[in-house]
């Protein structure tokens, strides 16, 4: 639909009839052009395509799990316990006779959901903290950044573990713990951007026309940092999934019978010698998902950064 207009720099003849769609296209013509341009750049980048394909595949699998999955993920069927891959059970079954393929598919829902929620919470809070800190500067900045340094000085997994353990083992607490650990990464980056943006003249102009500091942060600083937050968010999504799976692995995240990848590996570990498939398939999915987010994030950074763009 209207593909030929996307990315065209000249303004063609406008259609005479006016409908909501045309109105939208006209109003956001620049964004659509920019988006089309970005998509084409990403399309030319093989690792972006590969990363995007992986992410899209995972998302599709997660969304379609209830339809596609051959079995019920928590239905115990002791007669089928620990079957090797093949036949009805492509990835084999676990010690309670549940289909591992089914559980892996449902696990994608949980892992991706955790990743998205964590990035939204950490990215949102981190961006606001970083922008305010960078814009206000001085003692406030010093204070906030030292607090962020303290959080950063712990290995993220260790701190997330400690927090999750303190809050009590549950999926929601694990999400909060991981989000907390990720906040400084966003805060530091956005602060750096804010320091650059605040020297721009439109900030001085806004101040000269009577805008308050927080208003400027919200209307001028944050929107200018948005593209970096998106890139960092994509990169951090992969890391988040890994940490969340680790928490579940040691029993601090998702609780049984939830089909979570980390938790599955944790139980499957006991059977690794004789039933290799139990821990291997969830592990492979974690690996592939994290790699997918990482290479897509890297490619996105290349495309969004006009200095690297060619």
């Amino acid at each position: 639909m209207a593909g030929e207009r996307i990315g065209a720099w000249g303004r063609g003849k406008r259609p005479l009839r006016i409908n909501v769609f045309d109105e939208f296209r006209r109003q956001y013509a620049w964004q659509i052009r920019e988006l089309g341009f970005m998509v084409r750049l990403l399309g030319r980048n093989p690792s972006a395509v590969a990363g995007f394909a992986i992410i899209a595949g995972m998302v599709a699998m997660a969304l379609a799990a209830p339809v596609l999955a051959p079995f019920n993920p928590i239905q115990i069927s002791l007669g089928d316990r620990l079957l090797p891959p093949g036949g009805a059970h492509w990835f084999g079954t676990d010690e309670l006779g549940r289909d591992i393929l089914t559980r892996v598919m449902y696990g994608a829902r949980i892992s991706l959901w955790i990743g998205v929620i964590v990035v939204v919470i950490a990215g949102g809070l981190g961006a606001v903290i970083g922008a305010v800190s960078g814009y206000l500067g001085r003692r406030f900045d010093d204070l906030i950044m030292r607090v962020m340094d303290v959080i950063l000085s712990f290995p993220p997994l260790v701190l997330a573990m400690a927090l999750a353990a303190a809050l009590g083992p549950s999926l929601n607490n694990a999400i909060l713990a991981v989000a907390f650990v990720m906040i400084p990464k966003f805060a530091r980056m956005v602060r750096g951007e804010a320091l650059a943006v605040k020297e721009k003249q439109f900030i001085a102009a806004a101040r000269a026309s009577g805008a308050g500091s927080l208003w400027i942060v919200w209307h001028h600083v944050l929107p200018n940092c948005l593209s970096s937050v998106i890139v960092l968010g994509t990169l951090i999504l992969g890391e988040t999934i890994l940490i969340a799976a680790s928490l579940s692995f040691i029993g601090l995240g998702a609780q049984p019978p939830t089909p979570e990848w980390g938790a599955m590996i944790s139980v499957g570990r006991k059977f690794l010698m004789d039933q290799w498939w139990y821990a291997t398939f969830p592990g492979v999915f974690i690996l592939v998902t994290v790699i997918g987010f990482n290479i897509f994030g890297d490619a996105l950074r290349d495309v969004l950064d006009p200095r690297i763009r060619r």
Binding site: F202, A204, A208, G210, W215, H219
Partner: protein
Amino acid sequence: MSGPNEPLLEVRDLAVQFFTYQGTVRALEGVSLSVARGEIMGLVGETGCGKSVLARSVLRLIADPPGKITAGAIRFKGRDLLTLSRREMRRIRGNEISMIFQEPMSSLNPVFTVGSQMLEVVALHQAVGREEGRRICVEMLRQVKMPDAEQVLAKYPHELSGGMRQRVMIAMELSCRPDLLLADEPTTALDVTVQAQVLAILEGLTRQRGVAVLFISHDLGVIAQLCDRVAVMYAGGIIETAPAGAIFAAPRHPYTRGLLHAIPRIAARQESLAVIPGSVPSLVDPPPGCRFHPRCAERFFPCDRVVPPFYEPAPGHRVACHLHAGEEGRRSWERS
């Protein structure tokens, strides 16, 4: 309190210092200036003489640290701006005093459309709905003679030319009906032809609305064309203030004369350009006495010792130079 004869803006003995690693930069010292209602006041001087610092001080936009207003008073409509709270100051900015900057390229936020930025400014100062705000924006753009005002609202800053952007800024800053507009070299970054257009729009709108302007420039031609009165700055201080006609017809300060002399004339054949010898002194360690004396061809004994006060050789024409001292002044040097 603010009678009809009182100036709209009165800066008295203002001093601004910047505390840097190289030492304390005395960016402004003992600066006094007044702007009457509806008057266009020019402020000329070389780069780095403190013109922009003066304009920013009026809005209290000096970055602190490293800068600080260390002395003086800035009276606006009878109130001293330096004693106002931050909240009161915010209400003054944009509503009563607004400012246009030199670089039209970076005065607009690149990630928003012109319309959304103008709407923000309108919404910040006036309680109006979206439709009403939009109507005001279009009206404002029409007043700065913007073609296709409706379409311009939907555009991003990078889609506009420099002159268009500066006109958008003028429209934005005048939308809140300020009484005083600080224009910090608004046309320096523009082509000469565009510059003339923008100046004509600026002058037309401000005269029509009775907005006073403090117009900063280093372009004497622009100042001559536009301003009612002119103040000349040198190395952090004002050295001469006079009606625009007088300063060009009969400059009193040797520096002003040097500046005017340095304008190349097309009619006269010149082998080389006239210059003022030497360079602008460091403001960390300014010369004693008159700050211009090391470069002045007409210096005599008091110049390197006594800071010259203002003399008034003609009505409304004030100059800080010992050459214009009367008997009284001469006696005071002999005492020191």
